[in-house]
Symmetry: C3
Subunit: 181 residues, 3 copies
Protein backbone atom coordinates (compact mmCIF):
# COMPACT_ATOMS: atom_id res chain seq x y z
CA UNK A 1 0.00 0.00 0.00
CA UNK A 2 1.54 3.32 -1.08
CA UNK A 3 1.84 6.02 1.53
CA UNK A 4 -0.54 8.95 1.41
CA UNK A 5 2.28 11.12 0.04
CA UNK A 6 2.88 8.66 -2.81
CA UNK A 7 -0.82 8.51 -3.59
CA UNK A 8 -1.03 12.29 -3.80
CA UNK A 9 2.06 12.47 -6.00
CA UNK A 10 0.58 9.83 -8.34
CA UNK A 11 -2.74 11.67 -8.51
CA UNK A 12 -0.90 14.91 -9.31
CA UNK A 13 0.96 13.35 -12.20
CA UNK A 14 -2.22 11.76 -13.60
CA UNK A 15 -3.94 15.10 -13.29
CA UNK A 16 -1.15 16.90 -15.14
CA UNK A 17 -1.27 14.30 -17.93
CA UNK A 18 -4.99 14.87 -18.33
CA UNK A 19 -4.57 18.62 -18.22
CA UNK A 20 -2.12 18.41 -21.11
CA UNK A 21 -4.66 16.49 -23.19
CA UNK A 22 -7.49 18.92 -22.48
CA UNK A 23 -8.28 20.97 -25.58
CA UNK A 24 -7.65 24.72 -25.51
CA UNK A 25 -10.44 27.29 -25.56
CA UNK A 26 -10.16 27.35 -29.33
CA UNK A 27 -12.33 27.20 -32.46
CA UNK A 28 -10.96 25.53 -35.60
CA UNK A 29 -12.82 26.18 -38.87
CA UNK A 30 -12.25 24.49 -42.22
CA UNK A 31 -13.35 27.11 -44.74
CA UNK A 32 -13.98 24.80 -47.69
CA UNK A 33 -16.82 26.64 -49.39
CA UNK A 34 -16.47 29.33 -52.02
CA UNK A 35 -20.00 30.65 -51.43
CA UNK A 36 -20.54 34.16 -50.08
CA UNK A 37 -23.13 33.04 -47.54
CA UNK A 38 -20.93 30.31 -46.07
CA UNK A 39 -17.84 32.52 -46.06
CA UNK A 40 -19.83 35.18 -44.21
CA UNK A 41 -21.08 32.61 -41.71
CA UNK A 42 -17.52 31.39 -41.15
CA UNK A 43 -16.25 34.90 -40.42
CA UNK A 44 -19.25 35.86 -38.26
CA UNK A 45 -18.67 32.75 -36.15
CA UNK A 46 -14.90 33.29 -36.08
CA UNK A 47 -15.03 36.93 -35.01
CA UNK A 48 -17.84 36.20 -32.54
CA UNK A 49 -15.72 33.48 -30.94
CA UNK A 50 -12.76 35.85 -30.49
CA UNK A 51 -15.10 38.35 -28.86
CA UNK A 52 -15.99 35.60 -26.38
CA UNK A 53 -12.37 34.98 -25.49
CA UNK A 54 -11.70 32.01 -27.75
CA UNK A 55 -8.66 31.58 -29.94
CA UNK A 56 -9.61 31.00 -33.61
CA UNK A 57 -7.88 29.28 -36.53
CA UNK A 58 -9.34 29.14 -40.04
CA UNK A 59 -8.01 26.77 -42.66
CA UNK A 60 -8.90 27.87 -46.21
CA UNK A 61 -8.98 24.98 -48.66
CA UNK A 62 -10.53 24.03 -52.03
CA UNK A 63 -13.12 26.64 -53.12
CA UNK A 64 -12.43 28.68 -49.99
CA UNK A 65 -8.92 29.46 -51.22
CA UNK A 66 -9.76 32.02 -53.96
CA UNK A 67 -11.68 34.11 -51.41
CA UNK A 68 -8.28 35.17 -50.10
CA UNK A 69 -6.94 36.38 -53.45
CA UNK A 70 -6.12 40.08 -53.63
CA UNK A 71 -7.92 41.78 -56.50
CA UNK A 72 -5.08 44.29 -56.86
CA UNK A 73 -2.29 41.77 -57.14
CA UNK A 74 -1.45 40.21 -60.48
CA UNK A 75 1.10 37.56 -61.19
CA UNK A 76 2.39 36.10 -64.42
CA UNK A 77 4.09 32.88 -65.36
CA UNK A 78 1.11 30.57 -64.86
CA UNK A 79 0.57 27.48 -66.97
CA UNK A 80 -2.66 26.95 -68.94
CA UNK A 81 -4.50 25.26 -66.10
CA UNK A 82 -3.39 27.92 -63.61
CA UNK A 83 -4.64 30.63 -65.98
CA UNK A 84 -8.00 28.86 -66.34
CA UNK A 85 -8.52 28.52 -62.60
CA UNK A 86 -7.35 32.10 -62.18
CA UNK A 87 -10.00 33.33 -64.60
CA UNK A 88 -12.88 31.11 -63.54
CA UNK A 89 -12.58 31.40 -59.77
CA UNK A 90 -13.48 34.61 -57.91
CA UNK A 91 -10.65 37.03 -57.37
CA UNK A 92 -11.10 38.02 -53.75
CA UNK A 93 -14.02 38.49 -51.35
CA UNK A 94 -15.86 41.06 -53.49
CA UNK A 95 -16.34 38.55 -56.29
CA UNK A 96 -17.78 35.73 -54.20
CA UNK A 97 -21.39 34.71 -54.95
CA UNK A 98 -24.33 33.40 -52.91
CA UNK A 99 -24.96 29.63 -53.01
CA UNK A 100 -28.68 30.22 -53.50
CA UNK A 101 -30.72 32.94 -55.16
CA UNK A 102 -27.66 34.24 -56.98
CA UNK A 103 -29.90 34.81 -60.02
CA UNK A 104 -27.10 35.77 -62.39
CA UNK A 105 -25.56 38.04 -59.79
CA UNK A 106 -28.72 40.00 -58.98
CA UNK A 107 -29.44 38.11 -55.75
CA UNK A 108 -25.86 38.56 -54.59
CA UNK A 109 -25.98 42.30 -55.34
CA UNK A 110 -29.31 42.62 -53.51
CA UNK A 111 -28.01 40.73 -50.50
CA UNK A 112 -24.97 42.97 -50.34
CA UNK A 113 -27.02 46.15 -50.49
CA UNK A 114 -29.36 44.72 -47.87
CA UNK A 115 -26.43 43.85 -45.58
CA UNK A 116 -25.17 47.41 -45.91
CA UNK A 117 -28.58 48.82 -45.03
CA UNK A 118 -28.87 46.50 -42.01
CA UNK A 119 -25.32 47.33 -40.86
CA UNK A 120 -24.00 43.81 -41.39
CA UNK A 121 -20.31 43.92 -42.28
CA UNK A 122 -19.31 42.88 -45.82
CA UNK A 123 -16.96 39.96 -46.40
CA UNK A 124 -14.04 42.36 -47.03
CA UNK A 125 -14.78 44.14 -43.76
CA UNK A 126 -15.10 40.78 -41.95
CA UNK A 127 -11.64 39.74 -43.14
CA UNK A 128 -10.18 43.04 -41.93
CA UNK A 129 -11.94 42.61 -38.57
CA UNK A 130 -10.68 39.04 -38.25
CA UNK A 131 -7.13 40.28 -38.84
CA UNK A 132 -7.55 43.00 -36.21
CA UNK A 133 -8.92 40.47 -33.69
CA UNK A 134 -6.05 38.09 -34.28
CA UNK A 135 -7.92 35.28 -36.06
CA UNK A 136 -5.21 32.98 -37.42
CA UNK A 137 -5.52 32.11 -41.11
CA UNK A 138 -3.94 29.05 -42.73
CA UNK A 139 -4.14 28.55 -46.50
CA UNK A 140 -4.03 24.98 -47.77
CA UNK A 141 -0.81 24.38 -49.72
CA UNK A 142 -2.29 21.56 -51.78
CA UNK A 143 -5.16 23.78 -52.96
CA UNK A 144 -2.73 26.57 -53.89
CA UNK A 145 -0.76 24.06 -55.92
CA UNK A 146 -3.80 22.44 -57.57
CA UNK A 147 -5.39 25.75 -58.56
CA UNK A 148 -2.07 27.24 -59.63
CA UNK A 149 -2.31 30.19 -57.24
CA UNK A 150 0.89 31.94 -56.22
CA UNK A 151 1.57 33.39 -52.81
CA UNK A 152 2.17 36.84 -54.31
CA UNK A 153 -1.45 37.08 -55.45
CA UNK A 154 -2.98 36.36 -52.04
CA UNK A 155 -4.14 39.01 -49.56
CA UNK A 156 -1.78 40.66 -47.12
CA UNK A 157 -2.89 39.41 -43.71
CA UNK A 158 -1.00 39.52 -40.47
CA UNK A 159 0.43 36.10 -39.62
CA UNK A 160 -1.02 34.34 -42.70
CA UNK A 161 0.49 30.87 -43.03
CA UNK A 162 0.60 28.31 -45.83
CA UNK A 163 0.04 24.92 -44.29
CA UNK A 164 -0.81 21.30 -44.95
CA UNK A 165 -3.70 19.36 -43.49
CA UNK A 166 -1.45 18.04 -40.69
CA UNK A 167 -0.84 21.53 -39.29
CA UNK A 168 -4.56 22.19 -39.31
CA UNK A 169 -5.37 18.87 -37.66
CA UNK A 170 -2.93 19.61 -34.87
CA UNK A 171 -4.90 22.81 -34.16
CA UNK A 172 -8.28 21.08 -34.49
CA UNK A 173 -7.22 18.33 -32.12
CA UNK A 174 -6.35 20.96 -29.53
CA UNK A 175 -9.63 22.89 -29.91
CA UNK A 176 -12.96 22.67 -28.13
CA UNK A 177 -15.04 23.43 -31.23
CA UNK A 178 -14.49 22.41 -34.86
CA UNK A 179 -16.59 23.26 -37.89
CA UNK A 180 -16.40 22.26 -41.56
CA UNK A 181 -18.06 25.09 -43.49
CA UNK B 1 7.30 22.23 0.98
CA UNK B 2 3.50 22.32 1.46
CA UNK B 3 1.96 19.86 3.91
CA UNK B 4 0.06 16.88 2.57
CA UNK B 5 -3.19 18.61 3.53
CA UNK B 6 -2.23 21.68 1.51
CA UNK B 7 -1.27 19.52 -1.48
CA UNK B 8 -4.62 17.74 -1.42
CA UNK B 9 -6.51 21.03 -1.11
CA UNK B 10 -4.57 22.44 -4.08
CA UNK B 11 -5.25 19.33 -6.16
CA UNK B 12 -8.95 19.55 -5.32
CA UNK B 13 -9.19 23.14 -6.46
CA UNK B 14 -7.32 22.36 -9.71
CA UNK B 15 -9.62 19.42 -10.28
CA UNK B 16 -12.73 21.56 -9.72
CA UNK B 17 -11.40 24.17 -12.16
CA UNK B 18 -10.92 21.50 -14.81
CA UNK B 19 -14.32 20.00 -14.12
CA UNK B 20 -15.91 23.39 -14.76
CA UNK B 21 -14.18 23.60 -18.13
CA UNK B 22 -15.23 20.10 -19.21
CA UNK B 23 -17.92 20.27 -21.89
CA UNK B 24 -21.38 18.94 -21.12
CA UNK B 25 -22.84 15.83 -22.75
CA UNK B 26 -24.32 18.07 -25.41
CA UNK B 27 -24.64 18.34 -29.20
CA UNK B 28 -24.68 21.78 -30.83
CA UNK B 29 -25.85 22.00 -34.46
CA UNK B 30 -25.70 25.01 -36.76
CA UNK B 31 -28.58 24.43 -39.16
CA UNK B 32 -27.39 26.67 -41.99
CA UNK B 33 -28.76 24.78 -44.97
CA UNK B 34 -32.18 25.24 -46.53
CA UNK B 35 -32.09 21.85 -48.26
CA UNK B 36 -34.56 19.12 -47.30
CA UNK B 37 -31.88 16.42 -47.16
CA UNK B 38 -29.60 18.39 -44.84
CA UNK B 39 -32.49 19.54 -42.63
CA UNK B 40 -33.61 15.91 -42.32
CA UNK B 41 -30.06 14.84 -41.45
CA UNK B 42 -29.87 17.58 -38.81
CA UNK B 43 -33.10 16.46 -37.14
CA UNK B 44 -32.28 12.74 -37.39
CA UNK B 45 -28.95 13.40 -35.66
CA UNK B 46 -30.54 15.76 -33.11
CA UNK B 47 -33.35 13.42 -32.10
CA UNK B 48 -30.98 10.42 -32.11
CA UNK B 49 -28.66 12.27 -29.74
CA UNK B 50 -31.47 13.00 -27.28
CA UNK B 51 -32.41 9.32 -27.36
CA UNK B 52 -28.82 8.62 -26.29
CA UNK B 53 -29.05 10.93 -23.32
CA UNK B 54 -27.43 14.00 -24.85
CA UNK B 55 -28.74 17.54 -24.56
CA UNK B 56 -29.23 19.14 -28.00
CA UNK B 57 -29.25 22.75 -29.23
CA UNK B 58 -29.94 23.71 -32.84
CA UNK B 59 -29.15 27.19 -34.16
CA UNK B 60 -31.12 28.01 -37.33
CA UNK B 61 -29.39 30.60 -39.47
CA UNK B 62 -29.26 31.84 -43.09
CA UNK B 63 -31.18 29.42 -45.40
CA UNK B 64 -32.10 27.25 -42.42
CA UNK B 65 -34.28 30.03 -41.01
CA UNK B 66 -37.27 29.79 -43.42
CA UNK B 67 -37.66 26.08 -42.57
CA UNK B 68 -39.14 27.26 -39.28
CA UNK B 69 -41.80 29.49 -40.83
CA UNK B 70 -45.37 28.45 -40.13
CA UNK B 71 -47.37 28.03 -43.35
CA UNK B 72 -50.57 29.06 -41.57
CA UNK B 73 -49.28 32.32 -40.17
CA UNK B 74 -49.33 35.46 -42.28
CA UNK B 75 -47.98 38.85 -41.36
CA UNK B 76 -48.23 42.19 -43.07
CA UNK B 77 -46.22 45.37 -42.94
CA UNK B 78 -43.08 44.06 -44.68
CA UNK B 79 -40.93 46.28 -46.89
CA UNK B 80 -40.20 45.33 -50.52
CA UNK B 81 -37.16 43.26 -49.70
CA UNK B 82 -38.97 41.44 -46.91
CA UNK B 83 -41.82 40.64 -49.29
CA UNK B 84 -39.39 39.30 -51.88
CA UNK B 85 -37.59 37.02 -49.43
CA UNK B 86 -40.97 35.97 -48.06
CA UNK B 87 -42.10 34.89 -51.51
CA UNK B 88 -38.91 33.31 -52.76
CA UNK B 89 -37.93 31.30 -49.70
CA UNK B 90 -39.82 28.18 -48.62
CA UNK B 91 -42.64 28.75 -46.17
CA UNK B 92 -42.09 25.98 -43.65
CA UNK B 93 -40.81 22.41 -43.67
CA UNK B 94 -43.28 21.14 -46.28
CA UNK B 95 -41.89 23.50 -48.91
CA UNK B 96 -38.23 22.62 -48.50
CA UNK B 97 -36.50 20.99 -51.50
CA UNK B 98 -33.73 18.42 -51.98
CA UNK B 99 -30.23 19.74 -52.76
CA UNK B 100 -29.79 17.16 -55.50
CA UNK B 101 -32.18 15.41 -57.88
CA UNK B 102 -34.90 17.96 -57.16
CA UNK B 103 -35.81 17.81 -60.87
CA UNK B 104 -38.34 20.64 -60.75
CA UNK B 105 -39.88 19.22 -57.59
CA UNK B 106 -40.40 15.69 -58.89
CA UNK B 107 -37.36 14.27 -57.07
CA UNK B 108 -38.45 15.91 -53.83
CA UNK B 109 -41.98 14.53 -54.17
CA UNK B 110 -40.62 11.06 -54.93
CA UNK B 111 -38.27 11.16 -51.97
CA UNK B 112 -41.12 12.18 -49.68
CA UNK B 113 -43.37 9.37 -50.87
CA UNK B 114 -40.46 6.95 -50.53
CA UNK B 115 -39.77 8.13 -46.97
CA UNK B 116 -43.41 7.58 -46.10
CA UNK B 117 -43.33 4.05 -47.56
CA UNK B 118 -40.13 3.24 -45.64
CA UNK B 119 -41.52 4.69 -42.41
CA UNK B 120 -38.98 7.52 -42.22
CA UNK B 121 -40.52 10.53 -40.47
CA UNK B 122 -41.16 13.65 -42.56
CA UNK B 123 -39.47 16.96 -41.73
CA UNK B 124 -42.70 18.24 -40.11
CA UNK B 125 -42.89 15.11 -37.96
CA UNK B 126 -39.20 15.42 -37.08
CA UNK B 127 -39.73 18.97 -35.81
CA UNK B 128 -42.66 17.82 -33.68
CA UNK B 129 -40.58 14.93 -32.33
CA UNK B 130 -37.68 17.26 -31.55
CA UNK B 131 -40.04 19.51 -29.59
CA UNK B 132 -41.39 16.53 -27.66
CA UNK B 133 -37.86 15.34 -26.86
CA UNK B 134 -36.82 18.76 -25.62
CA UNK B 135 -34.40 19.72 -28.42
CA UNK B 136 -33.64 23.42 -27.88
CA UNK B 137 -34.08 25.63 -30.93
CA UNK B 138 -32.44 29.03 -31.38
CA UNK B 139 -33.26 31.18 -34.41
CA UNK B 140 -30.57 33.60 -35.59
CA UNK B 141 -31.69 37.18 -35.01
CA UNK B 142 -29.47 38.57 -37.76
CA UNK B 143 -31.00 36.19 -40.34
CA UNK B 144 -34.53 37.15 -39.25
CA UNK B 145 -33.61 40.79 -39.70
CA UNK B 146 -31.85 40.32 -43.06
CA UNK B 147 -34.64 38.24 -44.56
CA UNK B 148 -37.34 40.48 -43.09
CA UNK B 149 -39.04 37.63 -41.20
CA UNK B 150 -41.19 38.51 -38.21
CA UNK B 151 -41.48 36.45 -35.06
CA UNK B 152 -45.24 36.11 -35.53
CA UNK B 153 -44.77 34.09 -38.72
CA UNK B 154 -42.46 31.47 -37.20
CA UNK B 155 -43.60 28.10 -35.86
CA UNK B 156 -44.91 27.65 -32.34
CA UNK B 157 -42.26 25.55 -30.60
CA UNK B 158 -41.80 25.04 -26.91
CA UNK B 159 -38.90 27.15 -25.62
CA UNK B 160 -37.98 28.62 -29.03
CA UNK B 161 -35.48 31.45 -28.59
CA UNK B 162 -34.22 34.23 -30.84
CA UNK B 163 -30.51 34.55 -30.31
CA UNK B 164 -27.29 35.97 -31.66
CA UNK B 165 -24.17 34.04 -32.60
CA UNK B 166 -22.70 34.66 -29.13
CA UNK B 167 -25.49 32.73 -27.38
CA UNK B 168 -24.96 29.84 -29.75
CA UNK B 169 -21.18 29.87 -29.31
CA UNK B 170 -21.59 29.70 -25.54
CA UNK B 171 -23.59 26.48 -26.02
CA UNK B 172 -21.16 25.08 -28.61
CA UNK B 173 -18.19 25.79 -26.35
CA UNK B 174 -19.88 23.77 -23.61
CA UNK B 175 -20.74 20.80 -25.87
CA UNK B 176 -18.91 17.59 -26.70
CA UNK B 177 -20.05 17.49 -30.34
CA UNK B 178 -20.60 20.34 -32.81
CA UNK B 179 -21.79 20.15 -36.40
CA UNK B 180 -22.25 22.76 -39.14
CA UNK B 181 -24.93 21.38 -41.43
CA UNK C 1 -14.22 16.61 8.41
CA UNK C 2 -12.99 13.58 6.39
CA UNK C 3 -9.48 12.31 7.05
CA UNK C 4 -6.75 13.05 4.54
CA UNK C 5 -6.93 9.43 3.34
CA UNK C 6 -10.67 9.77 2.71
CA UNK C 7 -10.13 13.01 0.84
CA UNK C 8 -7.52 11.43 -1.42
CA UNK C 9 -9.74 8.40 -2.09
CA UNK C 10 -12.64 10.70 -3.00
CA UNK C 11 -10.43 12.77 -5.31
CA UNK C 12 -9.20 9.60 -7.00
CA UNK C 13 -12.70 8.38 -7.70
CA UNK C 14 -13.76 11.79 -9.07
CA UNK C 15 -10.66 11.80 -11.24
CA UNK C 16 -11.42 8.34 -12.62
CA UNK C 17 -15.00 9.36 -13.40
CA UNK C 18 -13.73 12.37 -15.35
CA UNK C 19 -11.13 10.29 -17.14
CA UNK C 20 -13.85 7.94 -18.36
CA UNK C 21 -15.80 10.87 -19.81
CA UNK C 22 -12.77 12.31 -21.61
CA UNK C 23 -13.09 11.81 -25.38
CA UNK C 24 -10.60 9.57 -27.16
CA UNK C 25 -7.99 10.84 -29.61
CA UNK C 26 -10.47 10.26 -32.40
CA UNK C 27 -11.94 11.99 -35.46
CA UNK C 28 -15.56 11.29 -36.42
CA UNK C 29 -16.67 12.37 -39.92
CA UNK C 30 -20.19 12.37 -41.32
CA UNK C 31 -19.65 11.94 -45.06
CA UNK C 32 -23.00 13.31 -46.24
CA UNK C 33 -21.97 14.86 -49.53
CA UNK C 34 -21.90 13.12 -52.89
CA UNK C 35 -19.52 15.68 -54.42
CA UNK C 36 -16.04 14.67 -55.52
CA UNK C 37 -14.40 17.68 -53.90
CA UNK C 38 -16.01 17.10 -50.50
CA UNK C 39 -15.39 13.35 -50.61
CA UNK C 40 -11.72 14.04 -51.39
CA UNK C 41 -11.53 16.53 -48.53
CA UNK C 42 -13.09 13.98 -46.17
CA UNK C 43 -10.54 11.31 -47.10
CA UNK C 44 -7.58 13.71 -47.06
CA UNK C 45 -8.54 14.79 -43.53
CA UNK C 46 -9.27 11.19 -42.45
CA UNK C 47 -5.98 9.74 -43.69
CA UNK C 48 -4.06 12.77 -42.42
CA UNK C 49 -5.55 12.26 -38.96
CA UNK C 50 -4.49 8.59 -38.87
CA UNK C 51 -0.99 9.66 -39.85
CA UNK C 52 -1.03 11.90 -36.76
CA UNK C 53 -1.98 9.06 -34.47
CA UNK C 54 -5.73 9.63 -34.32
CA UNK C 55 -8.36 6.94 -34.65
CA UNK C 56 -10.85 7.76 -37.45
CA UNK C 57 -14.47 6.78 -38.10
CA UNK C 58 -16.39 7.85 -41.21
CA UNK C 59 -20.16 7.54 -41.42
CA UNK C 60 -21.42 7.55 -45.02
CA UNK C 61 -25.00 8.73 -45.31
CA UNK C 62 -27.41 10.25 -47.89
CA UNK C 63 -25.50 11.28 -51.06
CA UNK C 64 -22.25 9.99 -49.58
CA UNK C 65 -23.56 6.43 -49.69
CA UNK C 66 -23.30 5.77 -53.48
CA UNK C 67 -19.60 6.72 -53.39
CA UNK C 68 -19.03 3.34 -51.78
CA UNK C 69 -20.75 1.32 -54.49
CA UNK C 70 -18.52 -1.08 -56.38
CA UNK C 71 -18.67 -0.49 -60.14
CA UNK C 72 -17.99 -4.18 -60.80
CA UNK C 73 -20.78 -5.53 -58.65
CA UNK C 74 -24.29 -5.83 -60.03
CA UNK C 75 -27.38 -6.94 -58.19
CA UNK C 76 -30.86 -7.70 -59.37
CA UNK C 77 -34.23 -7.82 -57.72
CA UNK C 78 -34.63 -4.08 -57.10
CA UNK C 79 -38.00 -2.37 -57.19
CA UNK C 80 -38.68 0.58 -59.54
CA UNK C 81 -37.48 3.20 -57.08
CA UNK C 82 -34.34 1.22 -56.30
CA UNK C 83 -33.59 0.92 -60.02
CA UNK C 84 -34.06 4.66 -60.51
CA UNK C 85 -31.72 5.58 -57.65
CA UNK C 86 -29.30 2.96 -58.91
CA UNK C 87 -29.20 4.55 -62.35
CA UNK C 88 -29.20 8.19 -61.33
CA UNK C 89 -26.64 8.10 -58.53
CA UNK C 90 -22.92 7.59 -59.21
CA UNK C 91 -21.73 4.02 -59.15
CA UNK C 92 -18.54 4.26 -57.11
CA UNK C 93 -15.78 6.82 -56.57
CA UNK C 94 -14.84 7.11 -60.26
CA UNK C 95 -18.26 8.44 -61.16
CA UNK C 96 -18.45 11.16 -58.52
CA UNK C 97 -18.56 14.78 -59.79
CA UNK C 98 -17.29 18.15 -58.59
CA UNK C 99 -19.79 20.40 -56.79
CA UNK C 100 -18.62 23.41 -58.79
CA UNK C 101 -17.20 23.84 -62.27
CA UNK C 102 -18.37 20.38 -63.29
CA UNK C 103 -19.28 21.86 -66.70
CA UNK C 104 -20.99 18.74 -68.03
CA UNK C 105 -18.16 16.57 -66.76
CA UNK C 106 -15.32 18.55 -68.35
CA UNK C 107 -14.34 20.30 -65.11
CA UNK C 108 -14.32 17.01 -63.24
CA UNK C 109 -12.17 15.36 -65.91
CA UNK C 110 -9.76 18.31 -65.90
CA UNK C 111 -9.51 18.27 -62.11
CA UNK C 112 -8.75 14.56 -62.14
CA UNK C 113 -6.01 14.91 -64.75
CA UNK C 114 -4.62 17.85 -62.78
CA UNK C 115 -4.61 15.85 -59.56
CA UNK C 116 -2.72 13.08 -61.31
CA UNK C 117 -0.15 15.53 -62.64
CA UNK C 118 0.29 17.07 -59.18
CA UNK C 119 0.55 13.66 -57.53
CA UNK C 120 -2.63 14.06 -55.50
CA UNK C 121 -4.23 10.66 -54.91
CA UNK C 122 -7.54 9.93 -56.67
CA UNK C 123 -10.68 9.14 -54.67
CA UNK C 124 -10.28 5.42 -55.44
CA UNK C 125 -6.68 5.53 -54.19
CA UNK C 126 -7.77 7.48 -51.11
CA UNK C 127 -10.30 4.81 -50.20
CA UNK C 128 -7.65 2.11 -50.58
CA UNK C 129 -5.25 4.14 -48.44
CA UNK C 130 -7.91 4.66 -45.79
CA UNK C 131 -8.49 0.91 -45.65
CA UNK C 132 -4.77 0.27 -45.31
CA UNK C 133 -4.49 2.83 -42.50
CA UNK C 134 -7.40 1.32 -40.61
CA UNK C 135 -9.95 4.12 -41.08
CA UNK C 136 -13.27 2.66 -39.88
CA UNK C 137 -16.18 3.03 -42.31
CA UNK C 138 -19.84 2.88 -41.29
CA UNK C 139 -22.56 2.99 -43.95
CA UNK C 140 -25.93 4.40 -42.90
CA UNK C 141 -28.57 1.67 -42.91
CA UNK C 142 -31.43 4.09 -43.43
CA UNK C 143 -29.77 5.54 -46.57
CA UNK C 144 -29.17 2.03 -47.95
CA UNK C 145 -32.83 1.27 -47.42
CA UNK C 146 -34.13 4.57 -48.84
CA UNK C 147 -31.97 4.39 -51.97
CA UNK C 148 -32.63 0.69 -52.42
CA UNK C 149 -28.92 -0.25 -52.33
CA UNK C 150 -28.01 -3.81 -51.40
CA UNK C 151 -24.98 -4.81 -49.37
CA UNK C 152 -23.72 -7.01 -52.21
CA UNK C 153 -23.20 -4.02 -54.47
CA UNK C 154 -21.04 -2.03 -52.01
CA UNK C 155 -17.23 -2.03 -52.01
CA UNK C 156 -15.21 -4.68 -50.24
CA UNK C 157 -13.53 -2.83 -47.37
CA UNK C 158 -11.94 -4.31 -44.30
CA UNK C 159 -14.20 -3.94 -41.28
CA UNK C 160 -16.98 -2.11 -43.15
CA UNK C 161 -20.09 -1.88 -40.96
CA UNK C 162 -23.72 -1.05 -41.64
CA UNK C 163 -24.93 1.11 -38.80
CA UNK C 164 -27.64 3.44 -37.62
CA UNK C 165 -27.18 7.02 -36.45
CA UNK C 166 -26.96 5.86 -32.81
CA UNK C 167 -23.78 3.83 -33.46
CA UNK C 168 -22.22 6.82 -35.14
CA UNK C 169 -23.24 9.20 -32.36
CA UNK C 170 -21.64 6.91 -29.78
CA UNK C 171 -18.36 7.26 -31.70
CA UNK C 172 -18.77 11.01 -32.19
CA UNK C 173 -19.48 11.54 -28.51
CA UNK C 174 -16.21 9.77 -27.68
CA UNK C 175 -14.11 11.76 -30.20
CA UNK C 176 -12.12 14.97 -29.90
CA UNK C 177 -12.97 16.22 -33.40
CA UNK C 178 -16.22 15.89 -35.39
CA UNK C 179 -16.94 17.13 -38.89
CA UNK C 180 -20.08 17.11 -41.06
CA UNK C 181 -18.86 17.15 -44.64
Amino acid sequence: MPTIEEQVAELKSQFDAMNNKTPANKLAIIAFSGDLDKALAAFIIATGAVAMGMEVVMFFTFWGTPILRDKNKNVGGKDTMGKMFGTMLPKGPEKVKLSKMNMAGMGTAMMKSLMKKKNVASLEEMIALAEELGVKIFICEMSMDLMGFKREEMITYNGLQYAGVASFLAEANDSRVQLFI
